[in-house]
């Protein structure tokens, strides 16, 4: 079972809301599917993300995937540690491998995302 305090997208991003700030990353399932991650391209601080739009790119030894913003908002921090250690996304996808923190514009947007049970169901379909 994936953690229940997070919300998920169908594109395998997770989002954790704390106050008005949300932290975003990709799920363990996504990291495993991608394989060894070698590069993460993230937006600069201050950029405005739009729910469902591409905000970055994750590149593994075998594939490149776009990152889709689970919520709209302004980027307050991008995980600088990933520049030198992109493998953190594989080893700690829900922790040190987080990608961006954003100030959430509209918390209601999270209601449209998957909860843990729904995401679990999605990934067990394969």
């Amino acid at each position: 079972m994936v953690p229940t305090d997070l919300r998920y997208t169908k594109d395998h991003e997770w989002v954790r809301l704390e106050g008005t700030e949300a932290t975003v990353g990709i799920t363990e399932y996504a990291a495993n599917q991608l394989g060894d991650i070698v590069f993460v391209e993230l937006p600069e601080v201050g950029r405005t993300l739009e729910q469902g739009a591409v905000f970055g790119v994750v590149e593994s030894v075998k594939a490149v995937s776009d990152l889709f913003a689970p919520v709209s908002g302004s980027v307050v921090e991008a995980n600088a540690a990933l520049a030198d250690k992109p493998e953190l996304v594989n080893s700690e996808p829900l922790g040190a491998g987080w990608m961006v923190r954003v100030t959430v514009a509209d918390k209601a947007e999270l209601d449209g995302l998957l909860d843990a049970a729904a995401y679990d169901a999605l990934i067990s379909e394969g």
Binding site: F39, E41, E59, S60, A63, V64, D66
Partner: protein, 480 residues
């Protein structure tokens, strides 16, 4: 599964999907007269007759001209080893070596090309090559847009016209804009990029600039203030693209030293003969921070499972087979054989040899300038040049034609290359390299003097003598 091309039904479905009625509509952008028509070939001829006909045709080429033509393509001596090694069958293989286990030779040759060019330009990463200097410059402009997420590129008017036009073509349909930076009109800096105009173009807050492109030496042969152009570009958050001529880098500061983020250029001077319009060699290099924006192939060095040195295509995720429409480029055929020619050329000459080639070209050009000045033909600009410069010649196009009759290819008629620039109306762009001889220079100066003063060519002296006598000078001949 049976193999077959698209059936009429397949085609109809595809046409319906994109909303057109016929395949011909896809070619609407190509002028009718340029489209392929059915080939109307003559009946086959015996080989002997055909060879004779082709030989007769080839004799119409004027191959013994003393050439002073450069303008982007330069004549250099190629050591015989280059052509001999290029003939080896091992090189005629897939230019994209996707299977490292069977392609170590080709991969190593590309890796060595990249390493040699990296040393020459002073930048970290070099692509496995592109079509030509124009394509490489256009790719550099696109890299700048991707890296900065901006949509406007400024290119100096003293970058080769073909490169500017190719860049504009690459930008079509992508919502990107390319604008030209004017040149200084007069004074000591005439013919170089106008820095004040560049500053104004960079200052528009609503239209931030992705990249600034300037050539060194520029199209007119002049040396540009590259460090200053780079500083202005960087101050505006734009990348700086240097368009370079590779042989010159043996004596001029390399782009990596004066702050260029990307270097692009035509690799033809490195052991590739001046052959029609190509095939040539597009050089593209960048700083490490831009590596993921570099289009086309990159070959890297690694170790295999047994710990042995091995070469592989690397950072493949930028490329179209993986990244599809989001690839760094979808025009990324490399010129592996010509890159190999460049590598052999550089390895054969070595750094000292290349410096000799560049320095000798500069010496010959200075001799050319002096010889032309002696017959009253002076430079159009006063700034420093390396081995190519513009001279002012009245009625340049006619003089150029007359000089061909006298066995001299007097460079390029600048008004034909740059019809919109009135300052270049009566000017020829001439160059010298290490293959230019003192005799060539003397013949050029003498012939030019003769043409300007209405002296007839020696070969037709008897016939033309009367004409000069009747007309009394240069004017009728030049306006004939």
């Amino acid at each position: 599964m049976p193999y077959g091309p698209h059936t009429p039904a397949d085609r109809a479905r595809m046409l319906a999907t994109i909303g057109i009625d016929s395949v011909d509509e896809l070619f609407a952008d190509i002028p009718e007269r340029l489209r392929a028509t059915p080939l109307a070939l003559a009946e086959p001829e015996p080989e002997l007759a055909l060879a004779a006909r082709l030989e007769a045709l080839s004799r119409r080429n004027q191959v013994d001209l003393a050439s002073f033509l450069g303008a982007g393509v330069y004549r250099h001596y190629s050591p015989a080893a280059i052509d001999q090694l290029l003939l080896r069958g091992e090189w005629y293989t897939a230019y994209t070596p996707y299977q490292p286990e069977i392609s170590q030779g080709t991969l190593q040759s590309i890796y060595e090309y990249q390493s040699l060019i990296a040393e020459l330009v002073g930048l970290d990463v070099v692509s496995a090559s592109h079509y030509d200097g124009a394509a490489a410059t256009a790719e550099a402009a696109l890299m700048a847009c991707r890296a900065t997420r901006r949509e406007r590129v400024l290119v100096s008017r003293a970058v080769h016209r073909h490169y500017r036009e190719t860049t504009a073509t690459y930008f079509l349909g992508g919502g990107l804009a390319v604008e030209e930076i004017p040149l200084v009109a007069d004074g000591p800096d005439a013919g170089t990029t106008d820095l004040a105009a560049l500053e104004r173009l960079l200052a528009d807050p609503d239209r931030p600039v992705a990249g600034v492109i300037a050539g060194q030496p520029n199209f007119l042969g002049l040396l540009e203030p590259m460090a200053e152009i780079g500083r202005l570009a960087h101050a505006a958050g734009a990348l700086f693209v240097a368009v370079v001529e590779p042989v010159s880098l043996a004596v001029l500061e390399p782009p990596g030293v004066y702050g260029a983020d990307i270097a692009a250029g035509e690799g033809q001077p490195l052991g590739i003969p001046a052959q029609y319009g190509g095939p040539y060699l597009g050089i593209l290099a960048a700083t490490d921070s831009l590596v993921r924006q570099v289009p086309g192939r990159l070959v890297g060095l690694t170790t295999d499972l047994d710990g042995k040195r091995a070469f592989v295509m690397t950072l493949r995720a930028r490329e179209q087979d993986i990244r599809r429409e989001k690839a760094a480029s979808n025009i990324c055929t490399n010129q592996a054989l010509l890159a190999l020619a460049a590598s052999i050329y550089l390895a054969t000459l070595g750094p000292h040899g290349l410096r000799d080639v560049a320095a000798l070209g500069a010496v010959r050009a200075a001799e050319l300038e002096a010889a032309l000045a002696e017959v009253g033909v002076r430079r159009l600009h006063s700034g420093p040049y390396l081995n190519e410069f513009a001279v002012r010649v009245p009625d340049a196009a006619a003089v150029h034609r007359r000089l061909i009759d006298r066995g001299i290819l007097a460079g390029l008629v600048l008004a034909e290359a740059e019809p919109d620039d009135p300052s270049l109306t009566d000017a020829l762009l001439v160059c010298a390299t290490e293959v230019t001889t003192a005799d060539d220079i003397a013949r050029f100066a003498d012939a030019l003097s003769a043409v300007l003063r209405g002296r007839p060519p020696i070969a037709v002296e008897a016939g033309a003598g009367a004409l000069v006598g009747e007309s009394g000078g240069a004017v009728p001949e030049l306006s004939r």
